[in-house]
Point group: D3
Chain length 245, copies 6
């Protein structure tokens, strides 16, 4: 394992999306950083609601545990709802960063207010809750959904991508925002192109999270193991959760 | 099945606590209400952090699905962190109420500010986040932990119960609160006794949630199936999550 | 007096509306619950602003006192501004619930965000202030007024009712909400019909508050008499307020 | 009537306190300002809770109406809970300012954070709610009560005054505040003396509100009569409220 | 120097605007109040962003120091962003009030919610931040910009003034507000005329701030010199900042 | 100039502190990153209040302009109040990050709540305001000051450093926090040692900000030049501000 190794966890089971995300992570990583892109072996093929998130969280946590055993330096949770984030922090030794979190943080550094463009309308409530939880509610100028499912981003037609682009243009016009946050790991490849075309920062969480983890690792900062993010109390988990024992 | 049947889900796998919770639910239920107290077959024996919650959520959701198939009228999630609440609402046909939620709501109806007494300090952050999410942050006068694990409430010694009592007395003295919310499903049996002794409402979430679900059922109000709590998108879940298909 | 008796106070002096409200309360009440619907003998015929509320509060409080002397189990304040709520809690022995409060609480249990449909635009500020006070500001997706006075709901033409219906439809379309809260006691009869037609929970506060009071009574929870909701300090009230001595 | 005439309404029926308040108002008034200090003929002798406020509000509103008919330039509501403030604004033609409001506003102009010292602990919740309503919650460093009733300020012993003084000293030491707001109209005479002794602004709401009303009058700014503070809808009020017709 | 002397500081270097502002201040001042209208000798000719504010703050602070040495009673910072306000409070002996602050405070006394009409869209973020800082975010119904630079108000054409008027009308229609706050010192002369025409309070911060300072001076209240607004620590400032030594 | 060059601006004029900060920045920088540590030639020797910040901001902005002309990749403002941050963003082409901002952001990634330890008590209000502005108010568990001036950190005695250490220990014990943010650029060298000793993340903003800027540069994200952070409007600045023309 190289000196810095970041485990990028796609919480859904889509291999194609895991590759998209892995590629985006690698493109963002520093020369000395190895990216290990993984996804759960069992779970949901895409994440578009709270139920999907709850199922996905288990797979995320298993990957976190596996990554920790492999000695990775840190972890990225590469779904815009950051499923299982605080649980993952309990389980991890190294830092864990979610892509919604990373993108929102970065956005506040380059604009006074940002807008979010995501996939299905039903996921907007998740973004809304995260804005409150992370403290960025008043930094958000608007929330937009293209009304296409996550996997439409992987169908090769480019239709979803074009709708994302249109929504970004509309958000810039209507919201008075200075930056756009892309609300799905599957949009990772769009960020740079849209940044160039629209002349504002268009932020992808995957690459943002990779840089955040690299930064924390470089600074010797890891998840606090005092207090409420300490390792979980040792318990005997039964059945299909045995792997956590 | 009787005309109203409420499924009370203890999210941990402790049989003893499931019985405690079931008894508290039955004691609170209206004459016409049947209580079905269940717990996951696999999961964590007690819930004391985000990781425990994430694991428990899967079992909660399976029970929700089973309960819905059995035609229950509504569901209670009987752990003070309300694990899996929004996911459960997506999966359920009937109303779903968490015990933290129910207790906090009730507390705001009988006092201007309430304090919370819970088990381990590391769970305080969960209560804190729920206060923000539910809108009751400014209604909370103080958060207290007795620094004993959840299962100490089931060890028969009464030591944990006595510490809860002491903390309630201290909270009333120091916080200027008018009511106490008990922060654990395992404390359900303490509420009435403490209410009498301390001359303030001491609120147990299990009984509160049962009444909330009964109320919603009686009013013909169920989880909104328009928008972000609609049934999950149909997906093919693999492996150990097959039961959700 | 039956084992559970709930006093439902219409804060305005409209007999017709008191009957509407009483009927809605009775329809929602459990078999063992007696509903006593009352209104002040002196006051305002409808409540459409802060002045109306201030006048109405006196009548509400007199009814609270009378109800307490009659030994009622609890009280409902059946005007959407919840006039005199905290004062009533001081004066009451049993629990007191406002219909705005009850409807908003219930709405958060069945949807992530709700919209409010009320009568005159000038009452919107009252709803807005209550959202802040109760903690539900961020759970509200939109506030709407039909621009007809309260008593238009009692004119028999059904015009106001139709406008409420239209506004609910519009709110669902524009606000991204999952439930509707009806913002007037006089709309109580509309809730069930609209719930059926619009396929989302449409919530009437009168029936919601009756269930809340029943729940609190069943749980043995009453207004906290320690601290800031204790009975008012004994004082000698003069003139027309003598009845409070 | 002189060119500027401010009606200062003591919402309780204490003549002694009305004189104290009137004197404080006169001491603060500009040369050209006439002060008319009034109190309700019927109501509560002191205001120490929500019930007292609700009763007092009626008397306040009658005085507002009378003052408007006499052509006063503006009104002050001289009780720290600002009872009936928004209702008074509906009824008034000129500006209406509450003393809690005025004192809090002024405090934010001379210090980054202020503390409040008031009478009975049970009134703290009223101050707390006003802080939220007016927007100054984060400007308040602490809330303190001397645990003596309002009228102890009028018993001539000076004991209550001494306790206020001690609490101010304590607040400055513990809260890190830069100013003190006195939380009772009956403390009006203490402000200047304590300002001198403690070397920080100690703010009395009565004098602050007089200056606020003078300012609004001088600027030609009066209560907005468009929207939610418009005159109340014309209604037929019965019985003891006939005077409002 | 007269008994009350208020230094009104136009933070930009425009002589014409300083005169406009001075005239507005004089028109608002009480008979016994002398107005000294000043502007920095060096700085920015208009203030339309954070950079402009940062530069202007130095000139404001020099004027504050000069004013204090001349023994003025208090200071007004007459630019809607209130540049250098807290720094000025540290440096001043007397009270310091910003015009945004004053106008917003006044607006909350005469309406439940107000809207703001300002010049360039890029200054809206400054108003937005002030709303948060002062606590009035929830009292603001809308923020509007006419998209003309500040100095367009001084070009004699009346075009900017007409656009302000149009925007006020639009804001009243769309926002449901009860008052308008004019968001630029250069709009001072418009307030009275628009108040008359639009029949709602249209508030100019310059005159509002003059009355606020007069009020504080009359009450003997000055900037708290205990704690975080104490005079700056004595330091040796070099070069062009020597005048502050 | 190397491929990535970060200008680290110490806003005060202390050469010793500039060196301390520069060393901390270099220690944190990636191999390919050049650090240029600068400070204003004129200004304040230390920053302990709003006045100091206002003066320092001018020097910061001159350095930003100079840095931009030299083609630096990005800028760090290395004083815990982040003086001039938004103005700097207007002036800069590349990203600008403040050290308070960077440290607070990082802290939320490794702990649920953090405490701040800073120098003089009078600077606490600045940290408090930043917590609100950045959205982290509810992530902060406590604010502490050692009551020694900034330059005590440079007196070679180690006394200030020891007091920082003691306060960190106290904060961990009393606040229930999981991480500590060091509230002064001059504390940069303490972070790693304290992280090791106290077994929680102790975060220095200088190194955190360097990593943030490196991250933004690597991602091709720069300050948004659309909207309110666009370059300042071209204006003719006179006298000592000529250098900005």
């Amino acid at each position: 394992m190289s000196s810095v190794c970041i485990q990028v966890i796609n919480p859904n089971t889509s291999r194609a999306m895991t590759e998209t995300i892995g590629a985006a992570a690698r493109a963002a990583a520093a020369p000395g950083t190895e990216i290990v892109a993984v996804c759960p072996t069992e779970g949901v093929p895409s994440i578009e609601g709270h139920f999907d998130e709850a199922i996905a969280a288990v797979g995320v946590l298993e990957q976190i545990k596996a990554g920790r055993q492999q000695g990775v330096s840190g972890h990225v949770i590469a779904c815009f709802g950051d499923p299982g984030l605080l649980a993952a922090r309990e389980l991890a030794q190294g830092p864990v960063v979610g892509i919604a979190e990373a993108a929102m943080h970065m956005a506040t550094l380059v604009a006074t207010r940002f807008s979010i463009v995501t996939t299905l309308p039903r996921t907007l409530i998740i973004a809304r809750h995260l804005l409150h939880q992370y403290g960025f509610y008043h930094h958000c100028a608007g929330l937009h959904a293209i009304d296409l499912p996550v996997l439409a981003l992987e169908d090769g037609s480019g239709r979803a991508q074009e709708q994302v682009r249109q929504r970004c243009i509309q958000a810039l016009k209507e919201d008075g925002c200075g930056a756009i946050v892309l609300g799905c790991g599957g949009m990772a490849t769009l960020a740079q192109e849209l940044t160039r075309e629209l002349h504002v920062p268009v932020i992808d969480g995957v690459s943002a999270a990779v840089k955040m983890v690299e930064s924390l690792v470089a600074l010797g900062l890891s998840t606090s193991k005092q207090g409420d993010l300490a390792f979980p109390e040792a318990k005997n988990l039964g059945g299909r959760f045995q792997s956590f024992n």
